[in-house]
Subunit: 344 residues, 2 copies
Amino acid sequence: MRFETSTIKDIAKALGLSTSTVSRALRDRYEISEETKKLVLAYAEKVNYRANPIARSLKERRSYSIGIIVSEIANNFFSQVINGIESIAYDKDYHVIISQSHESYKQEKLNVEHLASRSIDGLLIALSSETQDIDYLRDLYSKGLPIVFFDRVPEDFETHKVIANNFKGSFDATEHLILSGKRTIAHLTNSENLSITKERLGGYKAALTKYHIEFKPELVKYCQHGGMHSAELEQAVKELLPLKPDGIFISSDRLTTGCIMALKKTNPEVAHNIAISGFTNSNLVELFSPSLTSVKQPAFEMGQVATELLISMIEAKRPVTEFETKVLDTELVKMPKQVGNKFL
Amino acid sequence: MRFETSTIKDIAKALGLSTSTVSRALRDRYEISEETKKLVLAYAEKVNYRANPIARSLKERRSYSIGIIVSEIANNFFSQVINGIESIAYDKDYHVIISQSHESYKQEKLNVEHLASRSIDGLLIALSSETQDIDYLRDLYSKGLPIVFFDRVPEDFETHKVIANNFKGSFDATEHLILSGKRTIAHLTNSENLSITKERLGGYKAALTKYHIEFKPELVKYCQHGGMHSAELEQAVKELLPLKPDGIFISSDRLTTGCIMALKKTNPEVAHNIAISGFTNSNLVELFSPSLTSVKQPAFEMGQVATELLISMIEAKRPVTEFETKVLDTELVKMPKQVGNKFL
DNA sequence: AAAATCTGTGCAAACGTTCCCAAAAACGTC
DNA sequence: GACGTTTTTGGGAACGTTTGCACAGATTTT
């Protein structure tokens, strides 16, 4: 079961040239005469020559591949980010290897180390909600592996980062609830470790402050596992409902859908009486009942920007020392009009 | 920006051995004395030696990587399949490279050829809805690239295949509509090219026949692009509604959600009066309004089975000539009770 | 006309493995 | 102690590239 392809050697032999000449002709180097180039190119075309990327990688000590770590691909936010990453990577002739942490620190570390041993040239990562200790990343980074963080970024790590304007997104979503008359607004959010958690909490608080609504810590519920376990969500809902919230602002894709699910399951009678706004990039949000106002992140662009930054690091001649944190704006998609109990 | 790691050579030099001895010791060959093995292993551990997979690939002429082609990862069915694939692949020390066709033949072909040139050891593929000509796959296959098809499989291609029991799944879904009193049941389905389209149409027809309901071709609508364009779906809905269906059976994930979306957008007043059943692996289906009865495919298992078959082909000593088509059962998840207009 | 420069090409090493083959060391047998 | 066997080790080629260097021949400069 083996794959046979023609190599530079074959071409050289067939044309009576040396491998170096063929190699240089294929890479269009100035030293080779136009005549020879044409000859080589024509023959290569004829035998459908494809350079062996493995040999090239070995020689050049790089793999032209980028590792990606997300919590799960079955999440529209991340799959859109991945699409953005691919759009740039493929253009620049990199391929991508996707790994999922499933919000587990252990899995994340395992995957990163697996990728690193697969000689990726760089890493794009959104931290899992469990992750606190990123020393293993620091290690790899200091050994020369370029890393760019997106979405969930660490505070104390000097490299490029790409995030959404979480503060503003949260502010807008919370304000929207307030403007539609809600006053007891709960906040369901991710693990406290995550950067996004802090930023989104900030936006939520700021909106309350602007409208002179008192911030009540008991209205904020954290989910350590980012909503990967339904029990976690049902618990949060159970603790929240006695406080009679008339609105909930939810801070991530997974949590948003999970929370609505938990609400419908445990307290169907109130599910429609609580206004919900939350971060989600689901393209099915229009189908949801109860409906909700969503904060959409520019996921595709985030992927693109992160990839551009990463590739610039990979291809930099000298170590990069100036780092950027790109902040992209979110978009508030208001829920459709709703008439009585009829959700159209 | 380079990654420095220790190599077999380094170990050999440090220990005063030859590279061959070190290599053999690391691979635990019988020829090497226990003593030397211990020595080498301990030192390798100490310097955190990681074999360079690229060098190994070059030498062994295989990459320990598997290519996957799906139409899109932002689709629960496919992302679950991918999880299944990974669960097996990682165990056997393969890594996977995922590519999306976005239901485009051109993109699919491009991706496959890109993967092939990246020296994958095997390919797992679900055909795009546009694909009719699979000669390019035959080519690769005849050159020795192992291929296993899943979900959307070609008829005339001798290799392993993994599919759901589409006939039975469709039969059950259609029967469920009939048993809940529907008599004018439309069928919205994928491109006619696809294997799944034919099989699912078969199940639909069989259910109608069983209950003595006449099959009307005008109630069947095909979507060439698998619902990737909303215009396509809105057109189908527009053509279907004048026929006054009281039920619709939809034959794929993307189409199911797309159709509900189109219904709500163009004819919100009837959206709740048509019973819907359809293939979908969405984990958000409980949130949908209108609600629907769904046919769930054993996606995770399909991925696992396909990967096992593929790896068996890759690692086969002699060319494989006996092929299997594994058929896995679907599961019908009935829609929840609904009280009047209140969708809980 | 000799020296310097420019063009185009080839030789050979290197990237980090694996593995065939040979050689050295250790052991047993008569 | 000479010989055959077995065990353990090392040398070196190979996988398919890329690239520094050398060199031959043509062209220009002095």
